[in-house]
C-alpha cells in the first residue's frame, strides 16, 4: 500500500500516441519526497543537457506534490518541470487550483509528456481510462475558454482542465499554462506545451488517497487549522498589509496598494512614484475593484481567498491571481480598471503576468528612444493603453515586431541590437523580474536573487522579515511567539538587526548569519514544492502554520516514512542540490548568479563576492557554484558526481 501518494505515473508519448501507467519506486519518495524533487530526478535521469527546449526529447512533467489530495490545507500545487526556452535552464513553475488533487484521485502522481504530436491534441484522464483526443477545434481558443469547452464536450463538469492559450500554441517564451484561478506562468513552460502540440490536460478522478497513521495525522492537521484561524485574527504588526496575514498573498481582498504602487517601479521598471497613492486614487481603485470583483475564491482545500472572479464590462469573466492586478497597470502608467481588463485578455492568451507587461513597456521605451521605429510598429495606436493591447495581440500571434518581443526582453534585445540590451535591464538569468529598484544592498536579498534556482524572489523569500523593525521593543515583541525558527539564534539575528549604524545593511546580518537565513528560507520553499504545499500557508510567510517543526511528523504520519527535522532538511537539500546540478550541467556558473545591475543603488562588490563565496561553501559547492563530489556523496547523489566528472565539470583532483 502506498500512502499519501498513488505510486503511479502516467507516461505519454505524443509522437507515437503511446500511453503507459508506470509504478514508481517508493525509495525515490524517501529520497526526494515528491513533486519538485521527483520531477527534478526524472529530468536529470532522462533528459540529457544537450537537449533543446523545443526538442521532442525534452520532457514536460506535471507533478502533484506528495501531500496533494490529502486533508492538509493548502496542499494543492502542481509543479511543472521542463527545460525553459527563455532561460535555457530548468523551469519549475507551479500552480495551485484543483488539478493536482484531481490527478491524485484519478490514481496518478505525475503526467510525463514526451515527444511531439503532429496535430493539436488534448489529453483526457478519467481514472484508468486515458485518451489522446483531437484538439483541432480548440486551436486559437483562449486558455479559459478551452477549459470550459472541454468540460462541456466531455460532459464532465467536474473535470479539472489545464490549458494553454494562443501564446503557448505560438511558443511565446513567457507563455503560461492556465487552470481555473491558477497558472504556472514562469519560464515559458506554456511554450513547451504548445511545441508538443498539447492544448490541454483534462482530469477526473474518483479514487481514494490513503493516510498511513490517521489519528496522529488528523491531530496535526487540526493544529494547523487552529493556527490558521489564529493568524487570520492576529495580524503581524509592523509589516505591510499583504505580509501581515497569510495568503499567496490575498491581493484580491485588500484595497490598500500604497506599498506596491509607491515602492515598486512603474513603466519598464524605471520610475518610483512616491506620491502616487492619494485618497482619490484609493477611492477610485476601491470602486474599480469592488465593481468587477464578483467573489473571493480559493484553491482546493484552502480557507484563504487569494483569487477573485473578475467580471468587467466588455470582457469575458476570468479568475485573477494575486499580483497581476498591478503589473499591467504599473507598466503602462495606467489605473486599476485598465489592469483588470487587459489581464483578462492576457489570461485568455495565456501569458505570464510578470514578464508580459515588462516586455511591452520595454518595447515602448525602445520606441520612445528611436531604437524601434514606426516601421517596426505599423499602425500602433498613440495612447499607451492602446499600445499595450496592440503589442499584446502581436506578441501572442508572433506578428511583426511581436515575433521578436515574444522571446522576452533578453533575447529581443539581442536580436534588435542598436543598444537595446541596456533596456533589458531588469533580468536575472535572462528572465524578467519584479520591478523593484532600491537603495542600500540587503545581503540576504542579494544571495536570494543571485542563487535562487526559481529565479523569482517570491519563491525563495518569506520566513525572515524583509527589513529590520525600527525599535527594540517591536523586535522583542515580534520574536516572542516566533516558534517557527529552526534555532533560537535566528531570533538574535533579528533582534540585533537595525535600520542604521553598525548592525544594519549591508554588513549586518553578518556573512555567516546571512547564509543561514537564506538557507532556512530556501529550505522551506523546497519542502513546500516537494509536498505541493502552497507558500501562502507556509514558506512565503512570517510565522506560518507549516514549519520545520511540524512538517516531519505531518509527512511521517501521512506517508509512513520515518522523518525527523534532520531527515527532512537533508531531503530538501538533496532536491535543491540536484536542481543546481541540472542547471550546472546546462552551463550555469557563478557569472550568471547576480541580481540586475541597477537593483540597488549602493553596491559592494567585495562584500558581494564574499557573500557568494561563503554561501557556496555553506551549500557544499565550489567557487563556481558547482556541487562538490563530497557534498554530492553525502546526499546520496554519487551518480550526479560521476556524470559531472565524466563531463569534466567536476575536475578529478
Amino acid at each position: 500500500m502506498r500512502y499519501a501518494e498513488t505510486g503511479f505515473n502516467l507516461e505519454i508519448d505524443l509522437s507515437r500516441g503511446n500511453i503507459e501507467r508506470v509504478e514508481t519506486d517508493p525509495k525515490l519518495t524517501e529520497l526526494h519526497l515528491g513533486g519538485l524533487g521527483t520531477n527534478a530526478k526524472i529530468l536529470w535521469d532522462r533528459v540529457p543537457p544537450e537537449t533543446e527546449p523545443f526538442s521532442p526529447d525534452n520532457l514536460l512533467i506535471f507533478g502533484a506534490g506528495l501531500l496533494c489530495g490529502t486533508p492538509a490545507p493548502g496542499a494543492n500545487r502542481t509543479i511543472v518541470t521542463t527545460y525553459s526556452p527563455q532561460t535555457l535552464l530548468m523551469a519549475y513553475s507551479m500552480m495551485g487550483g484543483f488539478w493536482a488533487p484531481e490527478l491524485k484521485y484519478a490514481g496518478y502522481d505525475k503526467v510525463i509528456i514526451r515527444g511531439k504530436s503532429p496535430r493539436l491534441v488534448y489529453l483526457w484522464i478519467n481514472n484508468d481510462k486515458v485518451e489522446i483526443r483531437d484538439a483541432s477545434h480548440l486551436q486559437g481558443k483562449g486558455a479559459v475558454e478551452t477549459q470550459e469547452m472541454i468540460r462541456q464536450e466531455l460532459k464532465e463538469p467536474k473535470a479539472q482542465v489545464t490549458a494553454i492559450g494562443l501564446a503557448g500554441e505560438n511558443r511565446v517564451y513567457f507563455a503560461s499554462i492556465e487552470q481555473g484561478r491558477s497558472s504556472a506562468s514562469r519560464g515559458g513552460i506554456g511554450a513547451v506545451m504548445g511545441d508538443k502540440g498539447l492544448k490541454a490536460i483534462a482530469v477526473r478522478g474518483t479514487k481514494d488517497i490513503q493516510i498511513a497513521r490517521p489519528d496522529e495525522w488528523m491531530k496535526l492537521v487540526n493544529e494547523v487549522i487552529q493556527y490558521i484561524k489564529f493568524r487570520e485574527k492576529n495580524l503581524i504588526p509592523g509589516v505591510i498589509p499583504i505580509l501581515a496575514r497569510l495568503g499567496s498573498p490575498q491581493e484580491m481582498a485588500i484595497h490598500d496598494e500604497e506599498w506596491h504602487t509607491t515602492n515598486f517601479m512603474w513603466g519598464n521598471a524605471r520610475q518610483r512614484r512616491r506620491d502616487f497613492w492619494t485618497k482619490e486614487v484609493e477611492q477610485q481603485w476601491r470602486e474599480t475593484q469592488e465593481s468587477v470583483r464578483t467573489r473571493l475564491i480559493s484553491c482546493y482545500n484552502c480557507p484563504l481567498k487569494c483569487g477573485a472572479t473578475i467580471s468587467a464590462p466588455g470582457i469575458s469573466t476570468y479568475m485573477m491571481k494575486c499580483f497581476s492586478k498591478l503589473t499591467y497597470t504599473m507598466a503602462a502608467y495606467s489605473d486599476l480598471d485598465f489592469g483588470f481588463k487587459i489581464a483578462g485578455r492576457a489570461t485568455e492568451y495565456g501569458v505570464d503576468g510578470y514578464s508580459t507587461p515588462q516586455v511591452m513597456a520595454f518595447a515602448l521605451e525602445l520606441y520612445e528612444n528611436g531604437i524601434l521605429t514606426d516601421e517596426d510598429m505599423p499602425g500602433m495606436p498613440s495612447d499607451t493603453e492602446g499600445r499595450f493591447y496592440w503589442l499584446l495581440d502581436r506578441i501572442v500571434r508572433r506578428e511583426g515586431i511581436g515575433d521578436v518581443l515574444a522571446n522576452g526582453t533578453y533575447w529581443a534585445a539581442q536580436q534588435i541590437g542598436k543598444g537595446a540590451e541596456a533596456y533589458a535591464h531588469n533580468n536575472i538569468k535572462k528572465q524578467e523580474q519584479l520591478p523593484l529598484k532600491l537603495g542600500m544592498l540587503n545581503p540576504v536579498y542579494f544571495l536570494m536573487y543571485s542563487t535562487g534556482e526559481k529565479i523569482n524572489i517570491t519563491q525563495i523569500e518569506g520566513q525572515f522579515p524583509q527589513a529590520p523593525f525600527p525599535t527594540k521593543e517591536e523586535r522583542e515583541a515580534f520574536v516572542k511567539d516566533w516558534f517557527q525558527v529552526p534555532d533560537e539564534r535566528f531570533k538574535q539575528y533579528f533582534l540585533d538587526w537595525e535600520l542604521r549604524g553598525e548592525n544594519s545593511n549591508p554588513y549586518y546580518p553578518t556573512v555567516e548569519a546571512t547564509c543561514e537565513i537564506v538557507d532556512w528560507q530556501e529550505r522551506m520553499h523546497y519542502i513546500d514544492d516537494a509536498l505541493g504545499m502552497c507558500a501562502g500557508l507556509s514558506s512565503f510567510h512570517l510565522k506560518p502554520p507549516y514549519h520545520i517543526h511540524n512538517f516531519p511528523a505531518l509527512i511521517s504520519s501521512a506517508t509512513g516514512i520515518d522523518m525527523d527535522e534532520a531527515g527532512l532538511s537533508q531531503a530538501a537539500k538533496r532536491n535543491r542540490t540536484l536542481i543546481r546540478a541540472v542547471n550546472i550541467r546546462r552551463g550555469m556558473r557563478r557569472a550568471d548568479e547576480k541580481p540586475p545591475e541597477d537593483h540597488w543603488k549602493k553596491r559592494f562588490p567585495e562584500l558581494e563576492a564574499k557573500l557568494l563565496d561563503a554561501y557556496y561553501a555553506f551549500k557544499g559547492w565550489d567557487h563556481q557554484g558547482i556541487p562538490t563530489k563530497a557534498s554530492l556523496h553525502e546526499l546520496d547523489l554519487d551518480y550526479v558526481a560521476e556524470d559531472l566528472e565524466q563531463r569534466g565539470i567536476i575536475k578529478n583532483e
Partner: protein
C-alpha cells in the same frame, strides 16, 4: 394525536460566503472512511459543491433520501440572474445523476450529520468551513406524534401467523373495496 418535541439539526448554507475550496467534501469523505481519516475521496462525500466559477455558481448541497426513480418534470431556477441546473437544489441520490453514490459500488450516500461525533460537536463540514458558509443550527419543534408502524406490524404479524398471509391480504382487499364502494 398528541404533540411531541423533536430536535431538528440543520445546516444553514450561506452561498455568498462560499469560497469554493471543497474542504467540506474532503473532510466528509475522510471522516466517513473506515478507519476514520484513513483515506479521503471527495467522490464519497455526502456534501457536494456544485461549482461553476465563471457563472459564480457555488452551491453546497447535502445528500438526502435515496430515490428509486428520477423525477418526471425537472425545473431550473434563475436567482439573481444565475441559472441553477435542474437538480441543483435536490438532495436525492437518484438514477438521473452521479452525485451521492459510492464510486465503486454505486450505493446511495446520505448525510448523517456526523452522528458518530461526541455530543455537542458540530458536523465536520461545518467545523472545516472557515469562511462560515456552513452554519450549524439546532432547534426544537413540536411535531405530531408519529404512528408507530412497529405496533401495527407486530399485530399483523401475529394475524399472519394465525390465518396465513394470503387470507389476510384477501380480507384487507375485500374490506377496502367495500369501504370504497
Amino acid at each position: 394525536m398528541s404533540k411531541v418535541k423533536k430536535k431538528i439539526k440543520s445546516i444553514k448554507i450561506d452561498v455568498d460566503k462560499c469560497n469554493g475550496c471543497r474542504a467540506c467534501e474532503m473532510i466528509c469523505s475522510a471522516f466517513h472512511a473506515n478507519p476514520k481519516y484513513s483515506s479521503n475521496n471527495p467522490e464519497r462525500s455526502r456534501i457536494r459543491l456544485i461549482r461553476e466559477p465563471l457563472k459564480d455558481v457555488y452551491l453546497p448541497i447535502y445528500a438526502g433520501e435515496y430515490a428509486k426513480a428520477e423525477c418526471m418534470g425537472r425545473d431550473k431556477y434563475v436567482i439573481d440572474g444565475k441559472e441553477y441546473g435542474e437538480c441543483s437544489f435536490c438532495r436525492a441520490s437518484c438514477p438521473s445523476r452521479d452525485a451521492f453514490k459510492e464510486p465503486d459500488s454505486g450505493l446511495p450516500l446520505k448525510c448523517d450529520m456526523c452522528e458518530d461525533l461526541p455530543p455537542g460537536e458540530k458536523p465536520l463540514c461545518v467545523q472545516r468551513c472557515l469562511n462560515d458558509a456552513l452554519i450549524y443550527e439546532e432547534r426544537e419543534e413540536e411535531v405530531e406524534e408519529e404512528v408507530k408502524l412497529e405496533d401495527v406490524e407486530t399485530g399483523l404479524e401475529s394475524m399472519v401467523d394465525k390465518y396465513g398471509l394470503q387470507k389476510i391480504m384477501d380480507t384487507v382487499a375485500r374490506m377496502s373495496m367495500s369501504k370504497k364502494g
